[in-house]
Symmetry: C2
Subunit: 131 residues, 2 copies
């Protein structure tokens, strides 16, 4: 809001005189707002110590599968809190949930973490000054 179009004064400064202007011609287009929000939402799901530990426990569990009762004690939090974190991770696409009998089993979604890691590596690769 209040997008004051007064673009840095880059366009009004003399060329070749870099010491009097802080111009950046931005070789590549910046990340789109939508892409940024999507990636940020997934990263936000990962940016909690408890959730990271839950993921690592599930990843290291037998058959890469764990139910809620397996997770409350290792992380030392209440069952509602653990359920909440698992829901966040599931809605972010990192865990899948399958209910069998009275238990709800969570497992890693294959490739979900690698996808985020790949975006982090690629999206922000510094473009060498070859252009």
């Amino acid at each position: 809001m209040d997008v004051n179009i007064d673009y840095c004064r880059c366009m009004t400064s003399l060329p070749l005189v870099e010491s009097t202007a802080c111009c950046v011609s931005s070789g590549g287009a910046p990340m789109s707002v939508d892409d940024a929000e999507g990636l940020a939402r997934r990263l936000k799901a990962l940016s909690d110590p408890t959730r990271l530990r839950l993921l690592s426990i599930v990843a290291g569990a037998t058959e890469q599968e764990a139910c809620v009762c397996d997770l409350t004690d290792p992380v030392g939090l209440s069952q509602p809190t653990v359920s909440h974190h698992l829901k966040v991770l599931t809605e972010a696409g990192f865990l899948s949930r399958s209910k069998r009998g009275t238990w709800a089993y969570y497992r890693l979604v294959p490739g979900a973490l690698d996808t985020v890691a790949g975006v982090l590596s690629r999206q922000f690769a510094a473009v060498p000054p070859t252009r």
Copy 2:
């Protein structure tokens, strides 16, 4: 707090009777609390759409370098807010700051994002049931 050691009843259930126990023997040790907090802190710095866009603008800028006045208009936020975000990214180790004259130039710290991406890929690699 209140670590009630009542470990799931896994150890008290009969072996081979999987349908009456939700046991998980957890092949690999879960992520340590310290590691989880450290990674979570770095991911939290990345889990904001504005900060992701700032990183991408810096990455795409000429010489991979940009000052604050280059960044306020593209993201459409006030200068104090942009300064705040840049500080967060700098303290998390993703940006470096160098002041030249009146301008403060920010640039990507080489390898910082790749390190986080690598941890995400490796730390949670599903251990195949080979043990």
